[in-house]
Structures are given as structure tokens and as C-alpha cells.
């Protein structure tokens, strides 16, 4: 599809030289002088566009050419010329001082392509205001004699202006447009448009009779015109009906929320005013609502007379009716597939509009709820309508409490079935997670299922990590609570396994029968076998707190074995890459909600899981790195944790195998023991504890530095050895009986390494670093009191108090006073 030809075209366009370009400009200018424009002109304009747009740096056109193009854009009736001129002018800038100014051109309607240019080069809000004023003037007047679509682009332009600066429309404009929208939405013609566009052979007197509009299933329509009505041709106001509905939601959101909160007192006085006004306007062309007597309307018959409402409220009422009608119409079976898709989109839009209308005017909730509830009943069992059910869930969340409706079933669907069965629907995942993000506060307060369904929600992440990890970075903090913290941590660490399991689940559905012969996956077999069912079902659980977490942890090794062939599946690898990021988010949040007991539990989980991770290349190392970082933070935050969990930490640190298989974590555990196992961190720390810790670490250090590493393992990094030595020195500085033992070891180490190579380290520089550190510690320990202060600094040294400490404060105060007095 993308060929070398295209690549070289772009290159040529970018690298065209200035003289050649100028020649090209003058040639085009000459071509545009004439009256007739042939293929050569069009071709040249297209090439000019390519030259201008291929580079991100702006090229300026000669001003004569610019003027000519502009006048062509405004005056030509050939659409191709308009399009090309608009495109070319958009890619360049007007010469300064000649910014586009269409104010004087009020006689002719601005074509759509000219408007495109104007919008793209608009310099300020003032320009937009002028444009919007001009557009609304054109709407106010009589229907033009121009081509059928001359008015239709007005609404999209106004919508664009709204998006960028809603204040460009004055109060009068808003009122005018509200009235127009009401007319187009509710009172569009219900006869089919004349077959003017389909002229030719078959226009006879009979076929010229336009019949009534029809519904999507072919039956004759019995109510007002909507986007879900069809006909052979369409009248202009039916087109405007489509354009009006297309921008309705945005209009309501913009002008309702900026309406400044009208009070009921205001409403009463405005009613009075509109009553008196409506008398004088009863014969105005614009207000066609007088004429609607003949239509038998299902929806409008049940609603109260809205003629006395001010324009904005009237629009709200009509929007309400329109949406109700759409919901009714969507129940019909459309004849074309594209129309079925449109019905779904209309349902989403209708429910969203009902929601925003009810937010503005709470009294409408009682009318809207039966409709929405019925719709929910109709669609809740059909998963293909899942994306329509999300706006319905939003409606329930916003208004369920006021209408005293039970929303349990909705949440069961949203947090239960959707993630469990539709985790692989990209769009649903995006929309559901967006729904969660936008309603986080509300959900945390009112919907307990949200937090307890995190195992289900994580399925979206496990399936399509790159697309949704961003959303989870935002959502994860809300899922971390004291009750869910430990289980959530396990779930995060097991995400790659979940990913593999979901792949197997889908494969199992699509290929229910095992393939004979070699192509069958071992993991798929295991997934189907009843003896391991429990393991997989636990991973696929929908709610937190169900099932036995500890039981499964014990069998994790087995699970990893069964899923061994999944370690190089792309989906699993992508998932594994997102886990470290989420773990950081998790730990950053958990320290804010956890008490000491929970933090202790988490440390244990860290130690336990560091050896129970799915064996994806680099995954284990990354996770260890994250663990080390946060172990450090936790202990720094609560140093007493070290004494508290000293038994488990010692067990970990005392196992020599950990030096090689979990180097990162081991190093940090050792450091943490050395640093915080002291009386100043926790008064429960006894001499016996220090001594037993010392002995465990000493044993490991002896083992590591006396022989070569076990077969298959690399040499222990010098960092491990130096951290062991430092930890021993620190512990010794707290219990001086241990000093001779350390000093002896350190001097022996120096002697041994002087002999040259050692079995436990191959690099000379590394050996030198270790020996240097050993010597430093040895000299430090020769003076025990100094060693104690350096290696176990009292708290007031590590947490300086500056001005709060009278001793440290005096010099600071004197200095401040001196500089103040000297500045005068």
C-alpha cells in the first residue's frame, strides 16, 4: 500500500529548490489568469498542495498568487477548485497584515470550504464571534434559494466554535438557536422529500407524490421525524433534523452547565416574560409549533404542554421527547446492518442526553427512569449491547439514588459479566475504564462492588496491557485499601499468569476438541484437566476475598510449570512489562493506607514471592528491583518493622543460595538489617538478637568468600560482599564483643586477596573494591566509640532539626540578624 513512489514524491516535495519553486508559482499564477480551468490547472494545484503540506515548515506564497487563490475560493462555483484553493491556503499563511476578513461579505453565503479556511486561520476569539454572528444571521433569514445543503454546514461550524470558545455566542444567539433547534428536531416535515435528485426516466406524475416517511423496519412512521426515519429523498428541514441531533448533546452540555444556575424564582419571572412574548410572536415565521395540530404523536401526547417554557427549557423538553422516541424506534428490527449499528449509537446518545437533561432538571428523572429501566431490561441479557449498557449504568449512578431504584443488578453486570466475558473487546475496555475513571469518587462511596471486583477488572489489563496500562495507573490507587492490599499484591505479581490463562480460556472456547498429535499445547491440556481446574479457576475468579489465597500460593510453582510454554507468548510478555510500573504505583499508595501490621505482612509477601515468580526473561530481575526499592522505603518509614520481622528477614538473609538467585533483594535485606537492627529503631532489640543476626550473616559471608559459586551461577557481585561486611561492622559497633570477630575476618580477607586470584571473584577491580572497603571498616572498628557514632548515628544526626534545635539554631539566628542589620 505504501510504496517507494509515495516516499520519493514526499522527498521531492520537501527538497524542491527555491528557484524551481518560484517558477512553479508563476506558472500556476498564469494558469489561474484564464477563465477556463483544465486538467493542467487542477494537477498543478494538487502538486502545489503536496509541496506545501509535505513539510512542517511553512512556505509562503507570493502575495499575488495568494490573492488570486482567495478570490477563486470565494467566487468559483466549481467545487474542485474551491476544495483545492482552500487546502492550499490552509497550508500557508496570509502575508502579514492581510489576515482573512469576511465581515463585509454578508451578501453571499460562505461556502463550506471557505469556512474551513476561515476557521483554521482564525486569530482570536473576536474573529470567531464575528463568524458566529454572521452564521446566525444567515439562519434567521428566509430559506435561501441556493443549493440544498447551503444551510446544513452552519450547524457543524457553530458546534466547532462552541468547542473552542462557547462565549462567542451571545445570549440572544443562544436563544435564537435553541428555538431553531426545537423546530428542526420536533417539527421537521413527516413527508418524504421530493425526488428531485433522482430525476431522469422514472419521474411520472405518480412517482412525484411524496409519501410519508417510514421506520427502519419498513412500516409507516406514526410520529415525528428522527434520524432513524427513512424516505426516498429528504427535505431541507429533515437534513437539519439530522444535523441538529448530531450536535444536540454537545449543545446541551455547553449551555446548560454555563447557564449560571437558574433559581426557581428566576424561572417564574421568565415564564411571565415568555408568556407576553409568545403572544407577539405567534405569527412569526420561525415559531411553527402552532401548526402541529394534525400529527398523532405517541411521545408528545403524553407530555405536558411546553409552549410556555423559555427557549432553553423548551429545548430540553423536546430533546427529552426525541430521545424517548429514539429508544422506542431502536426496538424495531432494521433491514440493513449499518442501520442496526446506527440504532446502537443512537441508544448511547439518547441515554447520555437523558442523563445530562436530568442532571440539569431533576424533575425529569421521574419521567426518564421508567424509560431507561425498560431499556435496561430489554438489553441486559444481550452482551452484544454491552457498550449501550455503560451509559445506562452512568444514568443509574447519577440518578438511581434519587429515584430510589435498586442498582445491584447493574453493578453485577458491569463489574461481573463484562470483565469476565468481554475482556477482549478493546472498545468496551476503553469505555468501561473511562467510566470508572470519571466516576471514581462516586463509585468508591456508593458502589462497594467496585473495589471487591478488582480480580475481574485486572483481566482487561492482563489481556491488552499496552492499551489500558495508562488507565490502570490512574485507577490502581483507588483499589488499594487495607482490606484488599495483600490479595491485590499477589494478583499484580500473577498478572502474566492471568494473561496466559485468558489466552487459554479463549483458545479452549474456539477449539473445544483437543487436536490430536503434536500441535496441541501442553498448557491447554492442563487448563482442561480437572486436577488443575482449581488453580486456573482461582486465577479467573471475579471477586476478591473468595477462594483461598494461601492455598494457591503454595501451588504457584506447579502453575508456573504448567504455563511454562507461555513465557514467550507476546501477550504475556507485554503484560509482564507493565507489572513493575503498577507495582510502583501500588507501593506508593499502600504506605498511605497501611498500618504497621499490614506493612509487616507486605514485607513477608515480598520475601516469599521473590522466589515465586513466573519465569519470563527479565521479569524476575525487574520485580526484584522493584521489591528492593520498596523494601528500603518501607523500612526507612518504619524502622521498627525490621526488629518486628527480624526472624523472617534473618531466615532470608541466612540462606546462602539467595545470594545468587535473588541478589538484589538479598543485598537490600542485608542492608536493612545492618541499618535498623538497633535499639534506637526499636527498644525491643536485644543483644541476643544482634548477636544471632551477626552470626547468620557471618556464616553466609564465610561461605561466599571461601569457595567458587555453585555451578550454573555467576560470581556474587562485589556489592553483596561489601554490604555484608558493612552490615557486620554496623552490628558489631552496637555490641562491642563482636568487633574482634569482624576485625579478624577482615584482616584474613586482606591476606587472602593479596595472594592474587580468588575463587569467588574474577575481576581485579572488584577484588580491589572489596578489599578497600574491608580496610576502611577495619580501621574504623579499631576505635569502637567512633565506629558506633559513624555506623549507628543517633537520630538527631540523621534528622537534623535546624532552627528547632537550640544548639544548631544559635549560629543560624546570629547570621540572619547580622545580614539583616548589614543590609541597611
Amino acid at each position: 500500500m505504501y510504496s517507494h513512489g509515495s516516499e520519493s514524491l514526499i522527498k521531492q516535495a520537501r527538497e524542491i529548490q527555491e528557484p524551481e519553486l518560484q517558477k512553479f508559482y508563476s506558472r500556476i499564477a498564469k494558469l489561474l489568469q484564464g477563465r477556463e480551468y483544465g486538467h493542467e490547472t487542477i494537477d498543478s494545484l494538487q502538486r502545489l498542495y503536496l509541496i506545501l503540506s509535505a513539510t512542517k515548515y511553512t512556505r509562503m506564497l507570493p502575495s499575488e498568487l495568494q490573492k488570486r487563490l482567495l478570490s477563486l475560493l470565494l467566487s468559483s462555483s466549481v467545487e474542485q477548485l474551491q476544495v483545492l484553493c482552500s487546502a492550499v491556503l490552509r497550508e500557508t499563511l496570509p502575508p502579514s497584515g492581510q489576515e482573512l476578513n469576511f465581515n463585509q461579505d454578508t451578501s453571499s453565503l460562505l461556502s463550506s470550504h471557505a469556512a474551513v479556511l476561515l476557521l483554521s486561520q482564525t486569530g482570536s476569539r473576536g474573529d470567531l464571534s464575528c463568524l458566529s454572528a454572521q452564521l446566525l444571521r444567515s439562519l434567521e433569514g428566509r430559506p435561501s434559494e441556493g443549493p440544498a445543503h447551503s444551510l446544513t454546514h452552519t450547524l457543524p461550524i457553530i458546534n466547532t466554535i462552541l468547542t473552542h470558545s462557547p462565549e462567542c455566542l451571545t445570549e440572544d444567539h443562544v436563544t435564537l438557536l435553541s428555538k431553531k433547534l426545537v423546530d428542526w428536531l420536533r417539527y421537521a416535515s413527516i413527508q418524504q422529500g421530493g425526488g428531485a435528485s433522482s430525476g431522469g426516466f422514472f419521474t411520472g406524475p405518480r412517482s412525484r407524490q411524496p409519501g410519508p416517511i417510514a421506520e427502519l423496519d419498513g412500516t409507516v412512521s406514526g410520529d415525528f421525524f428522527t434520524v432513524l426515519c427513512v424516505g426516498q429523498g429528504f427535505t431541507e428541514d429533515q437534513w437539519m433534523n439530522v444535523y441538529s441531533f448530531s450536535m444536540l448533546r454537545h449543545w446541551l452540555l455547553t449551555y446548560n452547565s454555563t447557564s449560571g444556575g437558574h433559581t426557581t424564582g428566576d424561572t417564574a419571572s421568565r415564564l411571565q416574560l415568555s408568556l407576553s412574548l409568545s403572544h407577539s410572536h405567534s405569527h412569526s415565521y420561525d415559531d411553527r409549533s402552532e401548526v402541529d395540530g394534525s400529527v398523532v404523536s405517541m411521545v408528545s401526547a403524553t407530555s405536558s404542554s411546553s409552549r410556555l417554557l423559555p427557549p432553553k427549557e423548551r429545548l430540553r423538553e423536546k430533546a427529552f421527547q426525541y430521545c424517548q422516541r429514539l429508544i422506542e424506534q431502536s426496538d424495531r428490527k432494521a433491514q440493513k446492518r449499518t442501520d442496526t449499528e446506527l440504532q446502537k449509537a443512537c441508544l448511547v446518545e439518547a441515554v447520555c442526553i437523558l442523563d445530562s437533561v436530568c442532571v440539569e432538571d431533576a424533575s425529569l428523572v421521574y419521567r426518564a427512569f421508567p424509560c431507561v429501566k425498560a431499556l435496561y431490561g430489554r438489553l441486559s441479557s444481550d452482551l452484544s449491547f454491552a457498550r449501550v449498557l455503560l451509559p445506562i449504568a452512568q444514568f443509574y449512578l447519577n440518578h438511581g439514588e434519587m429515584a430510589a431504584v435498586d442498582c445491584e443488578c447493574v453493578w453485577k453486570l458491569v463489574f461481573g459479566r463484562f470483565p469476565a466475558e468481554l475482556f477482549n473487546d478493546h472498545f468496551l475496555a476503553h469505555e468501561l475504564l473511562q467510566f470508572l475513571r470519571q466516576n471514581l469518587g462516586n463509585l468508591q462511596l456508593r458502589v462497594p462492588q467496585y473495589i471487591s471486583s478488582f480480580p475481574n477488572l485486572l483481566k482487561f489489563l492482563a489481556w491488552d496491557s499496552p492499551a489500558v496500562v495508562d488507565d490502570f495507573v490512574d485507577l490502581l490507587p483507588s483499589l488499594v485499601t487495607a482490606g484488599t492490599a495483600v490479595e491485590l499484591l499477589h494478583s499484580l505479581l500473577d498478572l502474566p499468569c492471568l494473561s496466559a490463562t485468558l489466552v487459554l480460556q479463549l483458545r479452549s472456547m474456539y477449539f473445544p476438541i483437543s487436536e490430536p498429535g503434536g500441535r496441541g499445547l501442553l498448557s491447554l491440556e492442563a487448563f482442561r484437566s480437572p486436577s488443575y481446574r482449581g488453580l486456573f479457576l482461582f486465577l479467573l475468579r471475579g471477586e476478591a476475598g473468595s477462594g483461598n489465597c494461601c492455598d494457591t500460593i503454595a501451588r504457584l510453582n506447579k502453575l508456573h510449570e504448567l504455563l511454562a510454554e507461555a513465557v514467550d507468548w507476546a501477550r504475556v510478555v507485554q503484560c509482564a512489562q507493565t507489572v513493575p510500573v503498577l507495582l510502583h504505583v501500588y507501593f506508593n499508595t499502600v504506605i498511605t493506607v497501611a498500618d504497621e501490621k499490614l506493612l509487616a505482612q507486605l514485607i513477608l509477601v515480598l520475601l516469599e514471592r521473590s522466589s515465586l515468580l513466573f519465569n519470563i526473561p527479565k521479569y524476575i530481575k525487574e520485580i526484584h528491583r522493584v521489591f528492593s526499592c520498596h523494601l528500603l522505603r518501607l523500612c526507612k518509614l518504619r524502622p521498627s518493622l525490621v526488629v518486628d520481622q527480624s526472624h523472617e528477614l534473618l531466615e532470608f538473609a541466612g540462606t546462602t543460595a539467595n545470594v545468587f538467585s535473588k541478589e538484589d533483594v538479598f543485598t537490600h535485606v542485608v542492608w536493612v538489617l545492618g541499618e535498623y537492627l538497633s535499639v534506637s529503631s526499636d527498644s525491643r532489640c536485644s543483644v541476643e538478637l544482634i548477636t544471632s543476626c551477626f552470626e547468620s550473616l557471618e556464616a553466609v559471608l564465610f561461605e561466599v568468600t571461601s569457595s567458587a559459586p555453585p555451578p550454573g551461577e555467576a560470581h556474587a557481585a562485589p556489592r553483596v560482599i561489601t554490604s555484608l561486611m558493612s552490615a557486620l561492622a554496623k552490628l558489631a559497633s552496637r555490641s562491642h564483643d563482636l568487633i574482634p570477630r569482624v576485625s579478624l575476618f577482615l584482616s584474613k580477607l586482606r591476606t587472602v586477596t593479596r595472594g592474587g586470584s580468588v575463587p569467588w571473584c574474577s575481576n581485579e577491580e572488584d577484588i580491589a573494591a572489596v578489599v578497600t572497603r574491608g580496610e576502611e571498616l577495619w580501621s574504623l572498628l579499631k576505635v569502637p566509640s567512633v565506629a558506633q557514632i559513624v555506623l549507628t548515628p543517633p537520630p538527631h544526626v540523621t534528622t537534623p532539626q535546624w532552627h528547632r534545635d537550640t544548639n544548631a539554631a544559635m549560629p543560624l539566628q546570629l547570621r540572619a540578624l547580622t545580614s539583616l542589620t548589614q543590609s541597611h
Partner: protein
């Protein structure tokens, strides 16, 4: 409102770095968001806008690559005439663009990947994505057909006015339209008439 529509490459290109994308067609709707608040000169504004579009194209490219890698899908080249097949086998997805990365507000980038080219619609977060999806597919189908994109020509570069006209009917000024099949037929008739010239 749709903020912009892009057609860009999603396959590796020799002359560009890995992960880079070549933008073949771009159209931003409405006033430049940089205009109304910043105080950059017009040239800088244009440059900034182009850079932002490039960022979006790159992000979509990597999203497509990751999605294809994860699903293990093999991209099959189709020949001109098989536009329907190409469209059916296209992968699609949606990407969240955080506020500031690169647009000042949050946006969603809806993408459709057809072999080596991607079609992307950048929408406001509250947009009706069902409608946007349908519109995007329709636009892509018309582009494939009228610009012969399955062949190795360069019409997408040399006949960009056709895309402009297509957009002016199906997505005027970035407005997504609720069009049933009759309205679509009527608009498509106009588009086909234009393309025939």
C-alpha cells in the same frame, strides 16, 4: 467533535527510524487549539500542530504494532478489488491520549489498521465512540476505493482533494453525523459524482 483525521503509515519504513510514521494526509478541524490561548507566531503554531500530529501518528503506530504482535496476526496483502476483505480483516482499537500528551486536553485516538496504513480519528473523550467507529470505517472504505489505496500508487498524496470532499460530506467540520442508510446513500451519490470528474 472530531479533532483531526490522519492517514499514516504503520509499517516500518527504511529511511525513517524504528517506530516512526509518515503522515500521508492530515486534517485538523476547527480553530487551532494553540491559537486561542498561547502567544506563538502563526508559523510556530503551524509547526507545533504538525509536530503534535506526528506524535499521535507515532503513538498509534506503536499501538498497532503491539496489538498485532499480541494477537499473532499475520498481515496479508490484498489486491485492488478486495477492499471489502481488507476492511473486514483490519484491526481496530482505541488509544487514550492523556492531557498534555500531546493535546492540551484529554483525547481518544480511534484507529483502524489496514495492512501498512492506519486511519486515525482523534476525538473528544465524551464522544460517541460507536458512531465514530462506524464513521471511520466508512471513511476508510471510501478512501480505499476512490484512491485505489490497495494498489501501489500515490493517489492519496496527489488526489487529497477527494479526501477533503469526502470529509466535507461525512464529517463536516469534524461533526460526527447520525446517518441512516438513506442519508448515507444520498451523500455518497454526491461524493461519487465528484470523484468521477
Amino acid at each position: 467533535m472530531v479533532h483531526c483525521f490522519l492517514i499514516h503509515t504503520i509499517c516500518p519504513i527504511n529511511v525513517l527510524g524504528a517506530g516512526e510514521s509518515r503522515v500521508l494526509y492530515s486534517r485538523v478541524f476547527g480553530p487551532d487549539e494553540n491559537t486561542l490561548d498561547g502567544d506563538l507566531g502563526p508559523e510556530e503554531r503551524r509547526l507545533l500542530q504538525k509536530e503534535k500530529l506526528l506524535v499521535v501518528a507515532r503513538q498509534v503506530r506503536s499501538a498497532v504494532a503491539l496489538s498485532r504482535e499480541a494477537s499473532g496476526q499475520v498481515v496479508v496483502e490484498t489486491v485492488p478489488g478486495e477492499e471489502g476483505v481488507a476492511l473486514m480483516e483490519a484491526d481496530s482499537g482505541v488509544l487514550r491520549l492523556r492531557a498534555g500528551d500531546p493535546f492540551s486536553g484529554e483525547r481518544s485516538a480511534l484507529w483502524l489498521g489496514i495492512q501498512s496504513l492506519g486511519f486515525t480519528l482523534v476525538c473528544e473523550p465524551h464522544e460517541n465512540l460507536l458512531l465514530a467507529e462506524g464513521t471511520l470505517r466508512n471513511l476508510a472504505r471510501h478512501c480505499l476505493e476512490h484512491l485505489h489505496m490497495l494498489a501501489s500508487g500515490s493517489e492519496v498524496l496527489l488526489k487529497s482533494d477527494r479526501i477533503d470532499v469526502l470529509l466535507s460530506r461525512l464529517l463536516p467540520h469534524g461533526q460526527l453525523l447520525f446517518l441512516n442508510h438513506r442519508f448515507v446513500q444520498s451523500l455518497e451519490k454526491e461524493v461519487t459524482a465528484y470523484m468521477a470528474k
